[in-house]
């Protein structure tokens, strides 16, 4: 029954009422719109400025609306939207910056099997944002998805269209670069830490 409905919804979203008798438009508003903030946040950090971020998010929502009939109610709408968003970001970059997304990075597989330095106390939110912006974008994307938006590796892999192993290695590498950037910023401001020092009791 639900299948029959979603079939039709492809042609006339307006004409069809979804499972709870809600119009497709209303369901989209309830399920997809609440994630706009999250998507915009992720896009801003990947696109570098708000305007471009808004462009790709708007495009992602349009695409999402157009394929909403194929989205199954009850599945992870947020992950689905993110997948569309990354698709749009990829296209946007290819089109406007001719940055073919730099692929096979050396896949660094080993986990961080070393003790890390403590995070300097005095770093501000802006310092964190600045440090993250310096992480290369493939790695930054994974950090944004896993650390900030708290997606599971499996979802992040699906969103980015890469194997789970790639998510894990990028995450590792990205976090390492992020830590280096943070201690760099901390050192610059004189509240440095020594990387050798281990907080140990």
């Amino acid at each position: 029954m639900e299948n029959a409905m979603t079939e039709q919804a492809g042609n006339h979203p307006l004409a069809v009422n979804g499972p709870q008798g809600l119009s497709a438009e209303r369901r989209f508003e309830l399920e997809a719109m609440p994630h706009l903030q999250d998507l915009t946040r992720t896009a801003s950090r990947l696109m570098g400025d708000r305007t471009r971020a808004e462009d790709v998010v708007q495009e992602a929502y349009l695409q999402a609306w157009k394929s909403f009939s194929r989205f199954e109610t009850g599945t992870n709408c947020r992950a689905w939207l993110y997948k569309i968003l990354f698709h749009c970001i990829h296209h946007y970059r290819r089109k406007w910056f001719r940055l073919s997304v730099v692929k096979p990075m050396d896949e660094y597989t080993e986990a961080t099997a070393a003790y890390t330095a403590p995070i300097p106390e005095h770093l501000t939110d802006e310092d964190f944002v600045a440090a993250l912006d310096k992480v290369p974008s493939d790695f930054r994307a994974v950090i944004l998805l896993v650390d900030v938006e708290e997606f599971a590796y499996r979802d992040a892999a699906d969103i980015l269209g890469v194997p789970i192993g790639t998510v894990m290695s990028r995450l590792n590498r990205g976090r390492k670069i992020l830590r280096e950037q943070l201690s760099g910023i901390a050192a610059e401001f004189g509240y440095g830490i020594s990387m050798e020092k281990e907080a140990d009791a």
Binding site: T40, Q58, V148, D200
Partner: protein
């Protein structure tokens, strides 16, 4: 490190799994083994705390509201329009065109001229906004949207005395008056007479150096139409700020995508001269 039962983890093994632990990616057996190690081992526990703290701080730093309410409105409107229409709406191309503009100039003007919408699409857009404003404000808003927002404006404007040739001679002085009373950084895009939804307008559009689009829209009063006060009436709908005032025979509107205060200031700056001029036309 202490002596461990055979299936227990070494610190090295524990460290290699620490991120998986924190990311919630371990299966039950591994989770138990890790928890056992971390409970026993101060060094690994401290490391777990450091990594967790890094994540928490990063999340805190980034989890500020990123989307402006106007943007949310814009997306909402786009979806409503999409839902209401029965034909393909070329927003992809619109986004592409917008991207070109951004790429070239580094700024975004909020007018929608680059969208190249059909008249019906414009109507749908106007309708979606109009629902949010009073009838009397709608009179002005309709023309601003049809005639300024959906136009594509060139980067350079001809001189004012060229521009005003689209107006009947008796109205031309209003363009100069307005120009004299607004900041010099505004460029006049057009001054003309136009018709929208069966109503006639006198219309001037200007653009600020930041790319804000402003219209002065005037239309002859119909029976009963009045703002019913002598001041300036303000309303907003989505990104549009509207300030309405009236002369003896006309309704007048200053409508823009600036903030409320700026829009109001512009309206105040031109209301006086415009009233004087139109009331003298008789």
């Amino acid at each position: 490190m202490k002596t461990n039962p055979p299936n227990a983890l070494s610190c090295e093994q524990a460290l290699a799994r620490l991120d998986l632990l924190l990311d919630g990616e371990l299966d039950d057996a591994e989770l138990l083994a890790m928890e056992a190690h971390v409970a026993e081992c101060g060094r690994c526990r401290a490391e777990a705390e450091r990594r967790d703290q890094l994540r928490a701080k990063l999340r805190q730093a980034l989890r500020k509201p990123a989307a402006a309410p106007e943007f949310e409105q814009r997306v909402q409107t786009m979806i409503r329009m999409e839902a209401r229409r029965g034909f393909r709406f070329q927003w992809q191309y619109a986004a592409a065109a917008a991207a070109v503009v951004i790429g070239l100039s580094g700024t975004v003007a909020y007018q929608l001229g680059h969208l190249r919408l059909s008249y019906q699409q414009q109507e749908a857009y106007v309708t979606s906004i109009s629902e949010k404003v009073s009838n009397i404000m709608r009179v002005g808003l309709i023309d601003h949207v049809h005639c300024a927002v959906f136009k594509k404006w060139p980067k350079q404007s001809p001189p004012l005395d060229e521009i005003v040739k689209e107006m009947e001679p008796k109205y031309r002085p209003v363009a100069t008056l307005v120009k004299q009373n607004i900041p010099a950084s505004y460029r006049v895009l057009t001054a003309h007479q136009c018709t929208a939804r069966g109503r006639k307008y006198i219309h001037m559009a200007m653009m600020s150096t930041e790319g804000n689009l402003v219209s002065l829209v005037m239309s002859e009063k119909r029976t009963g139409e009045t703002f019913a006060n002598n001041g300036i009436r303000q309303e907003s709908a989505q990104r549009f700020r509207m300030a309405g005032f009236e002369t003896a025979g006309f309704l007048a509107y200053v409508i823009s995508d600036m903030d409320e205060k700026q829009n109001q200031q512009l309206a105040e700056a031109i209301a006086g001269p415009v009233k004087t001029f139109f009331n003298s036309l008789g």
